[in-house]
Symmetry: C2
């Protein structure tokens, strides 16, 4: 069930934490007009309710040696066999995201590699392990990624 009542103070807190995950409870309090402990309580509740799923640092993949980003569309080769593709590819570390999608293809992946050769190798592994065909779209430039969308 979608426990929908997320009221405006909680939304504000979520928005602030989405754009600065290390903001202190004190600063969140100043921004929302609440005391530190009231904010503290609310954040813990938001974590428990699963509205905050976690916290992460955004890493510069290009500088880290993974300058190549691509989207891989996936279509099962044999429609009669059980489709457990997400399970089969779960341990491939280059895969950042995995969605199932509507349309002519079944899944969409977002992947990161060091070089075109590494991407080629990755595509081979995906095809082998999941018995699928792939269609790859290379990212030329990233304007922005994972901007907070809270309304």
């Amino acid at each position: 069930m979608t426990d929908s009542a997320v009221e405006s103070t909680d939304r504000k807190i979520l928005q602030l934490l989405a754009s600065d995950g290390r903001m202190s409870f004190t600063d969140l309090g100043k921004a929302t007009g609440l005391s530190t402990s009231a904010v503290h309580q609310r954040v813990k509740r938001l974590e428990q309710r699963g509205l905050i799923q976690g916290y992460g640092a955004t890493v510069n993949h290009a500088e880290l040696g993974l300058p190549l980003t691509a989207f891989v569309s996936i279509r099962p080769i044999d429609p009669s066999q059980p489709d457990d593709c997400p399970d089969r590819i779960r341990d491939i570390t280059e895969i950042e995201s995995c969605w199932s999608v509507a349309g002519t293809e079944a899944y969409l992946l977002k992947v990161r590699t060091a070089t075109p050769a590494a991407l080629e190798d990755l595509l081979g592994r995906i095809r082998n392990v999941a018995n699928v065909s792939t269609r790859t779209t290379i990212v030329l430039s990233t304007y922005y990624e994972n901007r907070p969308v809270t309304d």
Copy 2:
């Protein structure tokens, strides 16, 4: 220039912060065998070098009232006119990510909306403001998103 020398302690720190952006310097120290202040220095340096681009909370969009995720492929209608599509759509808040891509289409967007009707409205706004045609792929289910990929 890509200042490539990111050695193993820094990589470890980046990996830990990518999966827990609120981890304390004390705990990072325990995990890396360094003192709190040494980790502190390293993290500040990683932030300044731009290897850490920021920190964010991961928000549950479905529970927040934005259960619909979609990818929108974009193609300019008039190839002769200046292509400033990313600038023109920058202020549309439903757009979470914007990439330029190789292939038959020019850009790829990831968007979040409350309902199919809101998606329809969003697509209209994108087409109007940027003079483009769109092709939309709806996400049926998200297995995982933004998993840390550090090697």
